[in-house]
Amino acid sequence: MTNALPTGATASTEVPLKRRLRRAERTRQVKALALVLPLLLFLLFTFAGPIAGMLWRSVEDWEVRQVLPQTIAALASWDGKDLPDEKAYAALASDILAARAAGTIAIAAKRLNYALNGFRTILTSTARNLKALPEPGTAKDTLGKINPAWRERATWTTIKDAGGPITGFYLLAALDLTRNADGAIVAAPPDQAIYRDIFLRTLLISLGVTALCLIFGFPVAYLLATLPPGKSNLLMIFVLLPFWTSLLVRTCAWIVLLQSKGVVNDSLLWLGFIDTPLRLIYNRFGVCVAMTHVLLPFMILPLYSSMKAISPAYMRAAASLGAPPLTAFLRIYLPQTLPGIGAGSLLVFILALGYYITPALVGGAADQMISYFIALYTTETANWGLASALGAVLLLATVLLALVYGKLVQSQQVTGGMKN
């Protein structure tokens, strides 16, 4: 009885205590939320919103649906095996006349031309030559006479596929795939199949730049972490210096240095190492050099912070236990820098994946990365669907990488030992 009493007392006060704790915590949570709210709203409007918009655009298909609504409705029941019936031709004729009056033919023509080269001509010539609504029952012949393409099944499957409201067309195109007339997913024709190569190139350049940054950054970070404070602060200023210079200026500086009459070539010629100027820019070499230079601080800083946390006592302990310097470095120092290597590499790699201005300025035609094409489709040809699809694929790849990295780091934390 006397033993049971305290237990009972605890149980009866437990619930109110929890509630009181929650109440006390709530005020703190509200305060914390109020502090992050401005940034949260800002990010929602400037980051999450546009990304959602981009993802939506990569699958949205509105042009044909808006310009040729009756045709799309009429094709809904078409099985696609043979030519559609007279009703669909009549609907198309009516849609074309309405669209010509509204001046929207070009919108649909542009979209259909993406899917079938030459569709623009079919649609505009039909619109030009169709004087009035055909008599009932003659629409098929009339349109067929104006452009024989209307007697082909592929023309009609193209319109049906582009009927929206959502489509996989752009995403497939971004992966060099397309649908054939039967709706099966097949490889895109060779003249359009360029994106896999570009993604691969983007990946390779990013990997190369990441590797270069690691190779150049590791010794510098080590020096930064081990030098006495005065000297390391000075060195740190040199590391951070690029951040205070415009990206454009830094990239253009490389053009000045690396061009055929540039500083590097002139020096090599003068020293007699070469007879003709080396081609150092407007190729892969120039891209890698310039990007490595720009991205190096993003590698050095995480490396530095992970190395700074490694006490010099570890290396001394390893030496006192009989490990020669190289063994001590490989078995004791390097493993402890892995979180820094991981963070720095991920940062540089992801930044490099989206690089645009540097390859555009110092790269040749064969060195342009995916961002260049996204910019091209957005600003030059206004093919927002394809631009968004390329962006979505890039985003997916990046997110996957970040997840893999998160898993790696987490598994290290689960087994503990990342702290002293």
Binding site: A317, P335, G417, N420
Partner: protein, 369 residues
């Protein structure tokens, strides 16, 4: 320095004329000559900046002597890198490798020596048994308490049977109770394994508890090397007298010297007889050193003329459980401590005038502070 020692064991380590400077202006270690015998537990004791850690680091190979030579088993090792010295070391903050498990940490010195797998396994489990941590073999250092980490660091430094083990204030980060327990464990390990240990600390009670011999460092110089009891009973100068144990200082001037004893006129008035340990002769100023437990308090007015009887005024009394302290104003020293039996402090009232007395052999005349 070591007159009277009987047949010292052969020296395992010999520091010969070692000097060390970091800035080229002043010496951190000034002309160190020190022999460390095989199998002994020697402590380098001193305040921070006294050169004791630098001495240890030179022995470990992490610092290069500016001048002189260090011999290990009669082999000069000044130019031998640390990993070839075969010296185990326990660091201040343990320096356990955070990315390796306890077993991997202990196996590290064996694996860099390319021991066979079976032998490594056997010795690691023996080491884990020794520190009673078999069940924690697969934990990481971050998951252990300070005392457990300390044991692992110890096991790691011992597992490869080094000819010498260095310890750099290894217990500094532990709380008092754990520290005392670890002191006994290390002492026991030393006795059972017969290893040579060089231990650095600034904690004199730690040094007294564990050491066979203590080298007291100050200002880059070894002030005295001796057994703990000899250091306490026979300090050669004021620094050692003050650094080891509690000590009362009275300033004075030597009046006469007669063989081993002298008469000293105190700066605060009165004369006492003292053992002449470190005085140059009559007329020299001196510091007298008297241990608190060697002083008796006699009530005012009681009879009896001791050789050293000085008037004192009670300032305060402090109760410390197993004993009590009386703080007295004696001559020029307003913080003269006298150790009392617990309970005896009740009879003393602050402001009360008393007399203190101590034997001449318990009062050492040393160099002036």
């Amino acid at each position: 320095m070591e007159a009277g020692m009987v047949m010292p064991a052969p020296a395992l380590v010999r520091f010969s004329g070692i000097q060390k400077t970091y800035d080229g202006e002043h010496l951190v270690v000034k002309n160190l000559d020190l022999d460390i015998r095989k199998g002994e537990f020697i402590t380098l004791l001193g305040p921070s900046g006294s050169g004791k850690t630098t001495t240890l680091m030179m022995l470990a190979g992490f610092e290069m002597p500016t001048h002189g030579e260090i011999y290990l088993s009669d082999r000069p090792i000044k130019n031998v890198p640390p990993h070839r010295r075969d010296i185990g070391m326990v660091f201040q903050n343990y320096a356990l490798f955070p990315h390796l498990t306890i077993a991997e940490n202990i196996a590290f010195p064996l694996s860099v020596r390319k021991s066979s797998k079976a032998e490594t396994q056997e010795r690691v489990s023996a080491a884990l048994r020794m520190i009673k941590m078999e069940s924690l073999a697969h934990r990481r250092p971050g998951q252990l308490s300070g005392g457990q980490q300390q044991r692992v660091a110890l096991a790691r430094a011992l597992v490869f049977n080094p000819q010498l083990v260095l310890m750099d204030e290894p217990l500094g980060a532990l709380d008092k109770r754990l520290r005392e327990q670890m002191q006994l464990e290390i002492k026991q390990l030393h006795e059972t394994m017969g290893i040579t240990i060089v231990y650095v600390t600034h904690d004199q009670s730690e040094a007294l508890t564990m050491s066979d011999r203590i080298a007291v460092f100050n200002d880059g110089i070894v002030q005295q090397i001796d057994r703990p009891d000899a250091l306490y009973e026979h300090p050669v100068n004021s620094f050692v007298a003050h650094f080891i144990g509690e000590n009362n200082v009275l300033a004075g001037t030597v009046e006469t010297v007669e063989r081993d004893y002298c008469r000293v006129a105190l700066a605060g008035g009165g004369t006492v007889a003292a053992r002449a340990v470190n005085v140059s002769g009559a007329g020299a100023s001196t510091s007298l050193s008297v241990r608190p437990e060697r002083v008796a308090i006699v009530p005012n007015g009681s009879s009896g003329e001791g050789p050293n009887r000085l008037p004192a005024r009670v300032q305060n009394t402090i109760y410390l459980g197993d004993h009590a302290l009386a703080v007295l104003d004696v001559a020029d020293n307003a913080e003269f401590m006298v150790k009392l039996q617990p309970g005896a402090h009740h009879s003393l009232r602050p402001g009360e005038g008393v007399f203190i007395t101590f034997r001449p052999e318990d009062c050492l005349a040393l160099d002036p502070v």
